[in-house]
């Protein structure tokens, strides 16, 4: 396959709120037809970056294109081609499902609005409940409606800001199947999330913390790039082992996973020595494992230079 064109290509994006840098010289390249995961702790600048991409915020610095349009000068064109799903449900709760879709259809000036709304309702399986007020829908249904609304005008790029927060696993799985179907049809998707299983479903990832891009690439590349070594300890009384290992040479990060303890560090030799010593003292079994995405992300975040205060605005 030939090198696909870039749907998003930005460089040096910077945004300040009241003097605080929320996004710091951020660069991002997303290929067409790709599902790109956007990860990072709360207040790391994910929402701000997405808002800059679709023209909701004006960057204080940087440049680039979104679908080939200049993000600084052609935000009107970008808005027409992008579907943006906000973190918080932002359709009208006092309008019915059908009225919300009709409204969006009119705003985008869709010629065959009726047909598209009917189709969207049919796809959603909401044909019979079209008259129901959007405010009375459950979280999962609200999310489906919001997705249908931002797909109504056939965008070429979807920007999804934590679309599955507060949605049950079944609905999340369906949602991701839908995303992959869309990507298969050529849609580019940039999706921010906190869920590791969702991160692993993305074609490529970017990890951002405190407004800075810390790692990017496929999940495997990100894991490999962190040069992290992880040991898993299994058995009884893991809390005591964790306490003992805290501060031990080489053990940078100790994370309990239920009946297992993940101990990670970048210095393989010292880590191995510390872990096997601690495990041996209590007769526990320690095995070297592949670090997961979560281990890597927590490691990246800890290593990042942490400003005293982060993110001026809610959800930065």
């Amino acid at each position: 396959m030939a090198e696909a064109a870039l749907a998003i290509d930005v460089e040096g994006l910077t945004k300040r709120f009241d003097g605080k840098v929320v996004v710091d010289r951020f660069g991002l390249q997303v290929r067409q037809g790709e599902i790109y995961g956007f990860l990072g702790p709360n207040g790391s600048g994910k929402t701000t970056t997405i808002r800059m991409l679709c023209g909701l915020l004006t960057p204080d610095g940087g440049s680039g294109t979104c679908l080939g349009f200049d993000i600084l000068r052609e935000s009107a064109r970008i808005k027409r081609e992008v579907g943006y799903m906000t973190q918080r449900f932002s359709l009208y709760e006092d309008l019915s499902i059908a009225e919300n879709l009709e409204f969006i259809g009119r705003i985008y000036g869709l010629a065959d609005r009726r047909r598209r709304v009917d189709e969207a309702l049919e796809r959603l399986g909401l044909g019979k409940r079209r008259g129901q007020l959007a405010g009375t829908l459950s979280g999962g249904w609200k999310q489906r409606l919001a997705l249908a609304a931002c797909l109504l005008h056939d965008p070429r790029l979807l920007l999804l800001d934590e679309p599955t927060a507060g949605v049950d696993p079944g609905a999340r799985r369906e949602f991701w199947e839908h995303l992959h179907q869309l990507a298969h049809e050529g849609m580019t998707v940039l999706v921010s999330t906190h869920y590791m299983d969702e991160a692993e479903r993305c074609h490529a990832l970017a990890y951002i913390a405190y407004g800075k891009l810390l790692a990017s690439g496929t999940a495997a590349q990100v894991v490999a790039g962190a040069k992290l070594h992880t040991w898993a300890i299994e058995g009884e009384d893991l809390a005591a082992v964790a306490a003992e290992l805290r501060g031990a040479p080489g053990a940078d990060m100790i994370v309990p996973f239920g009946a297992r303890l993940h101990v990670s560090g970048t210095d393989a030799a010292t880590l191995a020595a510390s872990v096997s010593a601690a495990a041996a003292r209590r007769g526990l079994r320690a095995t070297s494992v592949d670090p997961g995405l979560e281990d890597v992300f927590i490691h990246l975040m800890r290593r990042a230079p942490e400003p005293v205060t982060v993110a001026g605005r809610a959800e930065g």
Binding site: R51, G55, L56, R88
Partner: protein, 375 residues
């Protein structure tokens, strides 16, 4: 059980929240100050120095004394001396003068002969409260106005029997019915209140509920949002007007002397001016409560300083200056002029121009404040 610590926790929290909500705090301090100033200094139920036109068919010592004594009462101030009654009529219709004094041609001669000539005082009674005290003062003057001039051989003509007859002619509202003044004015007050509040809330609601973010991410333009938000409320405003007009006819028998078509066309301007204010507030307010507070901040002076509740001419200069800025002031003059005086386009052109200027200014501020982004 009542626990002091829990009670204190609530008290402390309330104070912290009030302090944080600057606008509410400002309102709690500002409202009493504003009301004190307005009620204490600006409002005057006994307006003095009301503008009067004198149409003197003769210039004699008697007529000059009459005018001087009227002015000496403090209630009248001669601002024009038109040569014809028609000129005076126009001044009154446009609201430039509140009274017209007609001195007949043979005033001195008739007085000298003891014929008790008739002096006509026309009063603009469309606002009975503004003219009431002045008219009472006239009646008292009747007896003493010319005493000084009736000296020597004319001394016999002095009071108790007045030397001339002062006939008061209440124009536009001969019976001095307060409802004639209040009901048309109410139209302006109701529109000001509801139009500003509805738009201020409608826009703020979008922001508060997060729907603004979705709207801004679509290709919709600021002017489309503003116009689209305003038009439905213009229609609602018209429904309110119809209700008030029908009620004023059926319940209060308020006359409709002028042109309904003229009034309707000016209503668009007035409603749009208020909506632009509401829209501006919505760009300033962070939540619906603040939008309500701003509405009241605007509404209170509108009601008190526009001439709706209290005579405009009774207010000191600074209060009148504030009043002149408010759209309600101009609309009251227009609506009362059309309904009670039968004002034509020419009579109210200046007031309409003031409304238009206000609309332009408020619209410009609203558009400048509206952000296409969330910055």
């Amino acid at each position: 059980m009542f626990a002091w610590s829990r009670f204190a926790a609530i008290v402390v929290k309330e104070f912290v929240q009030v302090r944080r909500d600057r606008l509410t705090f400002a309102m709690m301090i500002g409202m009493p100050v504003m009301q004190l100033v307005l009620f204490g200094f600006a409002i005057n139920m006994d307006p003095k120095s009301l503008p009067m036109a004198v149409v003197a068919a003769e210039a004699s010592p008697f007529s000059r004394s009459l005018v001087r004594s009227l002015e000496a009462s403090g209630y009248f101030r001669v601002v024009a001396q038109p040569s014809t009654a028609a000129g005076a009529e126009a001044l009154m219709a446009e609201g430039d003068v509140q009274f017209v004094l007609h001195v007949p041609a043979d005033f001195s001669r008739k007085i000298a002969r003891g014929e008790r000539p008739v002096v006509l005082v026309e009063a603009d009674a469309s606002d009975p409260a503004a003219t009431g005290n002045a008219l009472s003062a006239i009646q008292a003057l009747n007896y003493s106005a010319l005493d000084r001039d009736l000296a020597g051989s004319l001394a016999g003509l002095r009071s108790p029997a007045p030397a001339f007859e002062l006939r008061v002619h209440r124009r536009y509202n001969p019976e001095g019915i307060t409802a004639y003044n209040i009901v048309p004015g109410l139209m302006g007050v109701v529109l000001t209140m509801t139009m500003i509040m509805m738009t201020a809330l409608a826009m703020t609601r979008e922001r508060e509920r997060g729907t603004m973010e979705n709207l801004l991410a679509t290709p919709v333009r600021p002017f489309e949002v503003m116009a689209g938000k305003i038009v439905p409320y213009i229609l609602i405003g018209y429904v309110q007007v119809v209700v008030i007009l029908v009620a004023s006819q059926l319940l209060f028998q308020v006359p409709m002397v002028g042109s309904l078509a003229l009034l309707s066309s000016i209503l668009v301007l007035f409603i749009a001016a208020n909506l632009a204010v509401g829209f501006t507030f919505s760009t300033l307010a962070r939540n619906q409560l603040q939008a309500m507070q701003m509405t009241f901040f605007f509404f209170l002076p509108s009601m008190l300083l526009s001439g709706f509740m209290f005579p405009f001419r009774g207010m000191p200069g600074w209060a009148q200056a504030i009043g002149e800025v408010l759209p309600l002031t101009h609309f009251l003059r227009i609506v009362r002029g059309i309904m009670l005086k039968g004002n034509q386009w020419d009579d109210i052109a200046l007031e309409v121009a003031a409304l238009a200027a206000f609309l332009l200014a408020a619209g410009a501020v609203a558009m400048a404040r509206y952000r296409e982004t969330l910055d």
